[in-house]
Chain length 194, copies 2
Amino acid sequence: MGFGRGFDSRIPTQTLIDLTNGMLLRYDRNVKVKLSDLKPFASDPKAVDEILKTGDHVVYEYYENVVEGGFIYGVTIIYPGLIGEEYNFTRGHYHLRGDADEIYIGIKGKGLLLMQDKRGDFYSYPIERGYIVYIPGEYAHRTVNIGEEPLIFLYIYPANAGHDYESIKMKGFKKVILRRDGKPILVDNPRYRE
Amino acid sequence: MGFGRGFDSRIPTQTLIDLTNGMLLRYDRNVKVKLSDLKPFASDPKAVDEILKTGDHVVYEYYENVVEGGFIYGVTIIYPGLIGEEYNFTRGHYHLRGDADEIYIGIKGKGLLLMQDKRGDFYSYPIERGYIVYIPGEYAHRTVNIGEEPLIFLYIYPANAGHDYESIKMKGFKKVILRRDGKPILVDNPRYRE
């Protein structure tokens, strides 16, 4: 969990989470990701351009606390909506450290957590209130909101994990979640590259 | 987060927690700690003997999942009660790895989390529903139920942290939580040794 940290550098800290809606009382940073940021990750980039003509908007955001040499923990909120036929999703990333696992705990809403490793193994697990998903460090992870309200979940992972968004931007996820006949379906990503 | 783990050794897993009462749907192990186990840790060992004359009982238990090379996560339940004047408590321990931090999230009940490091720094933080406490790896941690219902909280820490209960058994916690006039007070532990 990190190396060379001085003994004096940290003391116990506390914060508060509302377990009904995921709101964190105190956080080090809030990051908002807009539709325009998602264009390279979308299965239908033309749909992104079409929506952007009428303006940009936040698709998801996260609030987190960062303890260097320890954990990063926080809450992600993915707003409901569609990008073309694709349900709102997070970019998704690999951890640079394959031994840096992550745990998700669902707080509110209805989603799917997509996971794939570099051998091509792929998993899709539901994430809803009380659902815990354990993500081994080798698995890229993306979350998709398939419900009609914000999808909110808690996450915890080692601060030294590192993020690789570039592999996902270049190759995509193997599968994507589209809305067809009003329901989510898992289909092969037409833009996926091995 | 562990070393030398094979790429094939693990896949994503899922379980479910009831965020109202902390119940885990699936767990690798359940450990029950009885009053008799706590005798070496109690501020009043004679009170333990006195209660044991009428029989032993579980003071606290935990349910947890263990991912070797990754995280251990689970739920602790401390039942309400007194051992002499001392509120029911966990033994408490140091992690063998000073860089193995831990996060607690309160689910239900009313407690105090006592933390001390080997320099003698001491902290007492409340743990109740939605309270998050970040415990740096150098801090021994003990939890005390000061309420009238079970105290239930979620915890997550690296599986390679290791446990040192012996230092606490030999030296004790600097301070203990006693019930006086029906209320919890934090007092110096008469049995603490520097």
